[in-house]
């Protein structure tokens, strides 16, 4: 029972609670904020599991860019609260059942496998080592990802543009 396990359990509680709260909020903005907390917790977890670079990337990009993008869109286009108050059984019932099914399956798989009994050792991978290794071995995927990001940029610009007639009206 070392320090690291305590930290791990605490962080996992944070992640789970924050995520659970995030998914049950009516207001999307509240949900986003809770989710930021969850991602911060994920970042700490990654740090614990020996990936400092990824922890940084998670916080900067995931929590810092993506969630902020969500906030921009929700606030600018005034996407309202859509759902009614309370949690309708017809909506949440099947979802919770499916989730329970999945969870039981996955945890069963995790606990029954003899591979799972191994205890994780602390280890730290320096960013330089990670970078060198990725760019040497998986340079093609890096190129692919960059192309993907470029295309996503194009798509977002095109899909988000205002139709010409409306633009003229707004002017």
């Amino acid at each position: 029972m070392s320090v690291y396990s305590v930290i791990f359990y605490a962080v996992s509680v944070v992640i789970v609670t924050a995520t659970a709260l995030a998914i049950t909020q009516r207001n999307p903005i509240h949900a986003v904020v809770y989710l930021v907390v969850s991602f911060l917790g994920s970042g700490i977890l990654f740090f614990l599991l020996g990936a400092p670079f990824l922890a940084a990337v998670e916080v900067i990009i995931y929590a810092g860019a993506i969630m902020v993008l969500f906030l921009f869109v929700v606030m600018m286009f005034r996407i309202e609260k859509v759902e009614p108050k309370g949690y309708p059984r017809l909506q949440w019932g099947p979802a919770l059942l499916c989730g329970a099914l999945f969870l039981s399956l996955l945890s069963l798989a995790a606990f029954r496998d003899p591979m799972g009994r191994a205890i994780l050792e602390t280890f730290v991978v320096s960013p330089a080592d990670l970078g060198r290794w990725v760019f040497q071995k998986y340079w093609l995927s890096i190129e692919g990802i960059s192309l993907l990001l470029f295309l996503a940029l194009l798509a977002a610009i095109h899909l988000g543009r205002v139709p010409r007639e409306k633009a003229r009206e707004e002017e």
Binding site: S5, P28, A51, L54, L69, G99, L106, L130
Partner: protein, 101 residues
Amino acid sequence: MIVPYSHVLVLAAVTFVLGLVCILARRNLVMTLIGIEVMMNGAAIAFIASGLRWHQLEGQAFVLFIIGVAAAEVSVGLALIIGAYRRVGSADSDTYSILKG
């Protein structure tokens, strides 16, 4: 000495399932996208833990790619939501039911 590998996997599973429930239970389109993000986060946790267990760097490399893909996908998804919201006037997925029956 941190924790047994299976515990981390269970954490990843719980996160994944929470994302799944979010997708299945929420009507707001934005919440659907948030659910997807949560699922990807869960997958990333699982990958990093696996990389640590087997002392291979592929786990971490893949998380890099996951985050990259998540970014691309969120931007396109939000652009689509904006387009749909402009046309239909509502972000409720229940209004998008022309294929009913």
